[in-house]
């Protein structure tokens, strides 16, 4: 196993742990994007460029948009409920 693969695997493991242990959901959304980026690098190193392309588009744009819009909507309803 090439040393580059070893480093990327360890980085992905650490990023995954950080995502699960994050308690504030906005912080978790940003950490999830970072974890997605770690996975993209892992997929490129495992010689899978198609998978890396789809993981990049998804974890960079689609998933954060849906996640942050859900968080913002919850916070807005919460604030209006308390008014």
């Amino acid at each position: 196993m090439v040393p580059l693969q070893l480093v990327v695997i360890l980085f992905a493991a650490a990023a995954g742990l950080a995502v699960v242990l994050a308690r504030d959901i906005v912080r978790q959304a940003i950490l999830f994007s970072l974890y997605g980026f770690a996975l993209v690098v892992l997929f490129v190193v495992l010689q899978a460029p198609d998978v890396a392309l789809s993981a990049l588009a998804v974890s960079g744009i689609a998933y954060p948009l849906v996640l942050v819009s859900a968080i913002a909507r919850v916070r807005a309803r919460d604030k209006r409920g308390r008014e």
Binding site: P49, D50, A57, L65, S69, A72, R73
Partner: protein, 248 residues
Amino acid sequence: MSRTVRLTMVGVSLAGFAALLAWGVADLPSFGHYPGPYGDLIVKLVQPQRHMANAVTAVVFDYRGFDTMGEELLLFAAASALALLLRETREDEVEDIREPVLSDAIRGGGLLASIVTLVVGLYVVAHAFITPGGGFQGGVVLAASLAFLFLAIEYQRWGKVAHSSIMEPVEAFGAGAYVALGLIALASGLAFLENFMELGVFGRLSSGGSAILLNLASALAVAGGFLVIFGECLQENVGARHGSRTNR
């Protein structure tokens, strides 16, 4: 039982579960020594048999086209279910909301990003069988280009472009066209989803036969599905922040 006791029990049992899984994967062929004949066979045959350069999209749209049809219909079902769940924020609640974009940098950057992403998305969809790319990746990038447009213009105007009455037919057309292409193959005497067009010259944009049409259909379906999802999420968001004062 208290939360700490519950979490300790879960921790212990998850450790046991992980140990069991680790014992299971230790028996796999060691990393780097893929043994199976199927992958090697496809790599050897994709150029002479199918005139395609990208073996992965050849598997997605040609060798295993049936599985891709299942995935696409799954995406269609998920987008429809989401639209159904979030339909309560009706159109008239968000009709009069004006949210002008205040920063010129965001407006300019959003427009630039939108145009660049649109071109990249079209490139990725078109070059499915030559370079890494395909309908699924390109569809997400095309949906992302319209999401960047939301940053640049306010929600009112964006809602007219990415309205669900435009995007839902696009998505339905993509999913339906995929199945219809399979039925066309069936009607011309071949198997369902088998190739029924000229295979073309290797390395050109026109290589691949009817898998090109399957690629375009799935790009439309994925882009439409994601735009339905984005549209519903953003409409829900805008409605919650400014909408009518009805409280549950």
